[in-house]
Structures are given as structure tokens and as C-alpha cells.
């Protein structure tokens, strides 16, 4: 039902909010020795999620999780680069907003159809 109504946008919104958490974790651990920054490969994760929705059980739930490759590794093993995380966070926030307005638009359309306007 969810998927028929919203297309990929339902899954995309959940993923975007998950990715926001992952990047916030990176920002929080910017000074933790040995912390390895992670990210979600959005395309891979979305594919896996849609495949799961279509009944393919082989797709693992943490598909699309990737480790960040640091441009310049630091001595304490921490791979967070704050500038990159900030950009990723901003980009993800804008994408979240966009997805949200797609969902909103769909809801408006359905509401209008139901009201018979």
C-alpha cells in the first residue's frame, strides 16, 4: 500500500532519516580515537530496501553501509573529516526536504481525489 501510493519516496524518506543519524554519529565522534566514519550508499541501500519489499529475503538489512575513505588519515585512527561530514549532512537534509515534498504532494493529490474537488 505504502509503496503503491508513494513509489520509492516512502523508502527514500526512511533512508534519508537513517543517513542523517549515521552522519550525526560521525560528527559526534569527530574526536574519538579509533572511530571509523560510516555512511550509507543511498543507491545501494534503496535498491536493497525495494528488493526486500518485493519479497527477496537475500537482501541484508544493513546493505549500503560503507566506511568512509579518509583523504588524510589521522594518527589516532579516526577517519572523520568534519568538512565532509558537514557537506554530507547538508546535502542529505536538502534531499530529505525534497523527498518530503514529493510525499506531501502525493498526499494532497489523494486527499483532493477523495474530496472530489
Amino acid at each position: 500500500m505504502n509503496e503503491r501510493l508513494f513509489g520509492i519516496h516512502g523508502a527514500a524518506l526512511t533512508l534519508r532519516s537513517q543517513r542523517m543519524g549515521v552522519i550525526a554519529s560521525n560528527i559526534a565522534n569527530a574526536a574519538t580515537p579509533g572511530y571509523k566514519a560510516r555512511d550509507i550508499d543511498f543507491n545501494a541501500a534503496l535498491d536493497a530496501r525495494l528488493a526486500r519489499a518485493h519479497g527477496a529475503s537475500s537482501a541484508s538489512p544493513d546493505a549500503g553501509m560503507v566506511w568512509r575513505r579518509p583523504t588524510m588519515p589521522s594518527l589516532d585512527g579516526n577517519t572523520v573529516e568534519l568538512n565532509r561530514e558537514q557537506v554530507a549532512f547538508a546535502e542529505n537534509a536538502v534531499a530529505y526536504s525534497a523527498t518530503l515534498s514529493f510525499v506531501q504532494g502525493k498526499v494532497n493529490t489523494i486527499t483532493r481525489a477523495l474530496k472530489g474537488e
Partner: protein, 138 residues
Amino acid sequence: MTMSDRQPMTLFSLTTRAMSAQMVRMNAATSNLANAGSVSSTEEGAYRPIRAVFAVELDRASGLAGVTSSGLVRAETAPTKRHDPSHPLADRDGYVFESPVDETAEMVEIMESARQYQNLVQALQTAKQLMLETLRSQ
């Protein structure tokens, strides 16, 4: 420390904890700065710089990785031994022991901590705004 005995981690608790960790770090650096140049008559009595140690705090339920300051560590650096017989705290041989605080390093530590605190606040603001937008869109 595990998260199992507490509420599941959210973006809000994640940033709150990270901000507290940065505060601990900044307080440690400020203490070091305050004690820069303090002098003792014994080597053991001299102030040693302290550092906050951070550790990852993984919450399996939400997949979020928080940060916690797992304690303060005292640096092993030896105090600077200085010959100053006129100093009231000088020992029998005329030496005083000065705390080995690198003021520049502490300033850098404070600036870095402030920057990261700022980043966390910004991330929190954006996340909050998006959540509100999602709520309002119904």
C-alpha cells in the same frame, strides 16, 4: 557503559551527549591553562595536564554511534625543573618544579572543541527543523 538500561538513543540524546563530552574536554583544557606556570617544591606535587578521553557508545537498536567521555587522564610529562633559589617554594638545592602545560596546545584544544560543539548545534538545529517539517506536513 551500555545503552540497554536507558532510553533508546535518538538524534537529540546523541547530540546532547556529544556536546557534554566536548564540554568535559574544554573544561580539562581550561584547567590546564589555569594551572600553566604553577610551581611546586616537589616533583610529585607539580600539576600535570589532564585530557578527556572519548569512547564510542554504540546503540544497536537505532544504529547510532554516540560518544561518551570515559574519564580524565593525567599526562605523564615530567615537570620542568628550574633553578630559582630566590623562589619561596624552592627546595633545598634551589630548584622549583613547574607544571608542564603547553599553552599553545591547550588553546588549540579549546578552539577545536568549540568548533565541534558548534557543528553539533548546527546538526541538531537542522535535524529538528526537518522533524518539525515532517510533523507539519500531515
